[in-house]
């Protein structure tokens, strides 16, 4: 455990030899046409299998698996909870003061209650990590932040997910989103044991996109019981599950789009040299110059995609072991070990990445996601193709 904390909190560090890193970096940074180890194009995603509503005990659930055996299962649970109005909010005080005006203002007030981001809780379980380690927390915060981020829609879901959780002024739903990640099953057993000892990366790829897509599908399949009580009464629900309403409302099949509002999706994008690469696997991340997690959603005002959040992730390449050029290698003939290893780049020799990213690279990465006909649209279209029962 200590080793992992030292290595990196946010990213996993696979142990690759300098020669491998150098080979991968050069292959991936070939101008215009990078060669990925699995032959994909820079914007191509790995095929995955998805299913929803798999757990009867939850309000909504989904499973996504990659061909390599990495899997994520998400269960969404909702609980009714009493809204604690903070004593320091002027709204509540003004309402309490003008008692006679309460009825009139009441209606307006309940419409004004727009929900709190804290009502959505997210926990992620990754094998080999404690639940208070930085990686699961970082991933959870990253996804929660874009989920509760405002998704404005005129009629269907004004105020986004947060507002949807409001029952009335005194009661709300609390949403628990629990994610479990599973190991690739095909890995030799002993190799996983060793990985656990070394705390190398457990899942074969950075788990973020997998978690994000699974959460997306689980939320779409989430149902809340139908409310029978009205107004400010204590909530009282219809116990007929068939009458339950979807958290993310669905429109009539006739009106085109099945889901007018969809949860956001977080994509992992890396840059290697001049290239921008999507859905990177573990090896590709380990040589990346920069790793960004970009959350997007469909905008309802216009056709374009909307950016919800960007977070940079510490690229593991900063922690790697440098290669030694032949001219300085003490175990090579005729070469004397030098006190100060030279800092200039030698072709074929790996150097850990230092420094940050240029703004132009960030802009290009975002543009590839958001642009018309870009990767973001493609992913959302793909997800829209997944049938949610």
């Amino acid at each position: 455990m200590s080793n992992q904390r030292q290595a990196s909190s946010a990213s996993q560090v696979p142990h690759l030899s300098p020669a491998e890193l150098s080979y991968l970096y050069t292959s991936l940074s070939l101008p215009k046409n990078p060669i990925r180890p699995d032959g994909r194009s820079p914007t191509q995603f790995r095929p995955l299998s998805a299913e929803t509503t798999i757990l009867p005990g939850t309000n909504g659930s989904a499973r996504i698996g990659f061909a390599d055996g990495t899997q994520a299962i998400v269960g969404v649970k909702a609980e009714v909870e009493k809204t604690v109005l903070a004593a320091d909010t002027l709204d509540s005080r003004s309402l309490a003061q003008h008692g006679d005006a309460l009825n009139r203002e009441g209606e307006e007030g309940s419409a004004a209650v727009s929900g709190q981001g804290e009502w959505v809780q997210m926990s992620i379980e990754i094998p080999g990590y404690r639940d208070d380690d930085a990686l699961p927390i970082f991933l959870g915060e990253m996804m929660r932040e874009s989920l509760v981020g405002s998704v404005e829609h005129k009629d269907e879901m004004a105020g986004g997910l947060k507002a949807r959780l409001v029952i009335n002024k005194r009661w709300h739903w609390r949403l628990y989103i629990d994610v479990s990640l599973f190991l690739p099953l095909d890995l030799p057993v002993s190799a996983t044991d060793i990985m656990q000892v070394l705390l190398l990366s457990q899942p074969l790829s950075y788990p973020l996109p997998l978690l994000s897509l699974t959460t997306h599908l689980a939320l779409l399949s989430t149902k809340l019981p139908k409310l029978k009580s009205t107004g400010e009464e204590d909530p009282f629900f219809d116990d007929d599950w068939a009458a339950a309403e979807y958290l993310y409302p669905r429109s009539k099949p006739s009106s085109g789009a099945f889901h007018p509002v969809r949860p956001p999706v977080t994509l992992l994008v890396v840059s290697v040299g001049e290239n921008v690469i999507f859905d990177p696997n573990r090896e590709e991340i380990s040589v990346a110059d920069a790793v960004l997690a970009i959350s997007i959603t469909r905008s309802h005002d216009s056709e374009a995609l909307k950016l919800l959040s960007i977070r940079s992730i510490d690229p593991p390449s900063r922690l790697t072991q440098p290669g030694i050029p032949n001219s300085e290698n003490a175990s090579m003939l005729g070469a004397a070990p030098t006190e100060n290893p030279s800092q200039e780049e030698v072709t074929g020799v790996w150097r850990p990445r230092r420094g940050g990213i240029k703004r132009s690279v960030v802009a290009r990465m975002i543009k590839t996601v958001l642009g018309k006909g870009g990767v973001g649209e493609e992913v959302l279209e793909g997800l829209e193709g997944v049938e949610v029962q």
């Binding site: 690759l16 030899s17 300098p18 491998e20 150098s22 080979y23 699995d38 002993s190 070394l198 074929g348």
Partner: protein
């Protein structure tokens, strides 16, 4: 053999025989031998043993393995070879630079990381196996040493098909191996590297890729890299060298961590070879020289077929067509099965 139900034994399936071997135990109160693992029964005279269907790699003397250094100690390295225990590589079991027959000195001990360091990949041979099943490796040959100029992938190692060792060694059922390994596309547990005649060979690649070396470690770790002629590389540095000097030169590059220049064409073919092996593993096909070479050639053929079909596709599609998955992978397996059956028939004639 794999699918034959009469040969498949599950635990608590008693069988009355004489001697108990690996994978079995005997109830002290009775005379029946009970399998402890699910797998194939093997009978050698009176010895009865069960080979598990899918197991960890268990090192045997003489195995060629690819390993990753995970720990550096004062006089030895600990190497991950996909076995239950880490293998050790003592400093005394490597070729020290500056001559093959040199005694190790304390200076060598101090600069042990300059030979191999954490994360480095090595190709080595199992020198001995200890009581607890852990292996001792050696790299005392010019063939062995640090790996560079290529990519690494891990698949299930030997034991994956269990019976491989005895089949190949005994020469029994060599013909049925083709059947068994390819008869089960989509089956699980049958894929992986098996002990075979040649674990290392040079593959001539298409599309201007040149020569590519493939190492199939018996432990399921595979390395694919650009072929370099050791003597060529040495003589390019010095024009006229004696034979012994030449050997020294060749041995000196075994600790290099600097990649040579590798053309994009070679890189592309190395990626294709690695994918071919992934396809084999995903479809439960054993991995050896025959299947790897076969699937590589077949994949070129499939590419041509697909290329004809999808002439109208836009450019973006063309970019991703090197990715072998789904329908393409199934087609490769299909063609490979036909091809191997054909070869088998030719052998019979």
């Amino acid at each position: 053999m794999m699918r034959g139900a009469p040969h498949l034994f599950f635990p608590t399936c008693p069988k009355l025989t004489a001697c108990r071997g690996h994978g079995t135990y005997m109830n002290p109160l009775s005379t029946s031998i009970i399998a402890t693992v699910a797998g194939n029964v093997q009978k050698t005279n009176k010895l009865l043993s069960v080979q598990p269907l899918r197991a960890r790699y268990t090192p045997e003397i003489g195995d060629l393995v690819v390993g990753r250094i995970v720990e550096v100690q004062s006089r030895r390295w600990k190497v991950d070879v996909a076995a239950p225990l880490l293998a050790q590589l003592p400093l005394s079991a490597i070729n020290l630079p500056g001559g093959i027959l040199r005694r190790r000195t304390s200076a060598d001990e101090l600069q042990i990381r300059t030979f191999f360091s954490e994360g480095d990949l090595v190709i080595a041979e199992v020198q001995s196996v200890h009581q607890d099943g852990s292996a001792s490796l050696h790299t005392r040959s010019l063939k062995y040493g640090k790996l560079r100029n290529g990519i690494f992938l891990a698949v299930t190692g030997t034991g994956g098909s269990g019976s491989s060792g005895s089949n190949v060694k005994g020469g029994v059922g060599a013909s049925s191996a083709v059947n068994s390994s390819l008869a089960a596309p989509g089956g699980s547990g049958t894929g992986g590297v098996v002990r075979s005649r040649r674990q290392v060979w040079t593959q001539e690649t298409a599309n201007g890729g040149g020569e590519v070396d493939i190492i199939l470690g018996v432990n399921g770790y595979i390395y694919i890299y650009k072929h370099t002629d050791g003597a060529d590389a040495a003589s390019s540095i010095t024009e006229n060298v004696s034979i012994s000097r030449l050997e020294e030169m060749a041995s000196s590059t075994i600790y290099s961590s600097q990649n040579d220049d590798i053309s994009p064409q070679t890189r592309r073919e190395i990626a294709r070879l690695s994918q071919c092996i992934q396809v084999l593993v995903q479809h439960g096909v054993r991995v050896d020289e025959e299947t790897v070479t076969g699937s590589y050639e077949v994949s070129l053929q499939v590419d041509l077929e697909v290329g004809d079909d999808e002439d109208e596709e836009d450019e973006w599609r063309q970019e991703g067509r090197e990715y072998l998955e789904g329908a393409k992978a199934r087609r490769i397996i299909e063609l490979l099965a036909q091809r191997l059956v054909k070869q088998k028939d030719q052998k019979k004639e």
